[in-house]
Symmetry: C2
Subunit: 230 residues, 2 copies
């Protein structure tokens, strides 16, 4: 059976239908940076009324693509999980778009961005390569793991010690980077690393979109950890 190991025609069509509306596509794209957003903001992002947006969000929720948590009179929607983010990333990858229309490459996005909630782009790939090369990351059956020497080095570089000490307990998932076509660190480990770098001010989020902007200090610190951008 062609579809035995993956989706059958109805499941595939159902997923396609969820993307088939520009309003829903816009909402999903707006959520790809991993932040949760209230319904009204998503309605504005999609340029539709509140009632329409609500209906679309319900469909995406029922389809398993979104999660939601209520807080006061707001309902915050987010992508349902890392798999959904990875899937969307793959869906929206430029290779297939290129023949349709040349994609305008955004330099900052190529350099560093969030892939859902972890670091991707040239910087993410450089980090993964460098640390694998130094033996700071090793891959086992259940994913990537940080070694003890890496923890020491992170502390040296200014990482808060209690946070660094917990990192080896987290598992990383290698995640294919669509602009670089090489692997970077995702999963709980990738998320934790990225969160710390944001906290430390080595990176900050762009006002809009998924780009991450490394600070001068951040680049210096990363260089001492073997991570260099050409």
């Amino acid at each position: 059976m062609t579809e035995a190991a993956s989706l059958n025609r109805y499941q595939l069509a159902e997923l396609g239908a969820l993307l088939a509306e520009p309003a829903r596509a816009a909402m999903l794209l707006a959520l790809m940076d991993g932040r949760a957003r209230p319904a009204g903001e998503l309605a504005r992002a999609a340029s539709v009324g509140a009632a329409t947006a609500s209906a679309h969000l319900k469909r995406l929720l029922d389809g398993g693509l979104l999660g939601v948590h209520a807080q006061g009179r707001h309902r915050y929607y987010r992508l349902a999980g890392d798999e959904v983010a990875a899937w969307l990333e793959a869906m929206a990858l430029p290779q297939i778009a290129r023949p349709l229309r040349p994609a305008s490459a955004d330099a900052a996005m190529c350099r560093a961005r969030t892939c859902y909630r972890h670091l991707a782009g040239a910087l993410g790939v450089a980090l993964c390569d460098a640390w694998l090369g130094r033996g700071w990351l090793h891959s086992s059956a259940d994913g990537l793991q940080l070694s003890q020497p890496a923890v020491e080095a992170l502390c040296q570089a200014g990482w808060p010690e209690p946070v660094a000490r917990r990192l080896p307990q987290l598992r990383g998932r290698s995640c294919l980077d669509w602009t670089e076509r090489r692997l970077h660190v995702g999963g709980p480990l990738g998320v934790a690393l990225t969160a710390s770098m944001l906290d430390l001010g080595w990176l900050r989020r762009a006002e809009r979109g998924r780009a991450l902007l490394p600070s001068a200090d951040g680049l210096r610190r990363l260089a001492t950890l073997g991570v260099r951008l050409d």
Copy 2:
């Protein structure tokens, strides 16, 4: 801009809409093994009339997902290229399907299958790993290349010499395997290797679907080339 480096909401919706119809999804799934099929056969695969199928095929063609070549009174449709196949593979990957419905894993598909026109699954990954380990494959900026010692070994194992001699001129593309989550050899090199293994009878296509069945002889020969299935 969120979508700067990839698709905007309209392009994403357009692609979604192409998948959103079970009939079109069925046609695409039927073409994922890389073979070209006439319109009538696709109509039957999708369980719709000839007129309806023709309209769907036109939409997929205009959308850039299919290619076509006429031969006599038949028109043979095929996926537009490797990127489309890879994109569909990503669309239909089981991770996102799992929460919707547990996917029934097909043992033969997991072991060996076509990823569009090249070998994927456990066997494809094993081949890639083994040959990279032996230095028979090396990766350069523009992809994977077969080394001369590998050519000699292939000839030893029964590969037709003129074919084997041409292999180092072909470039391979490393392709992420969705069941194994590791890389295998795609691109022109992967296609050529797979075609030869089919010609040699080391593999044969399953009657239906994308599974590839290795013969006892094929497994023996592959083992002499370092490729082993656990």
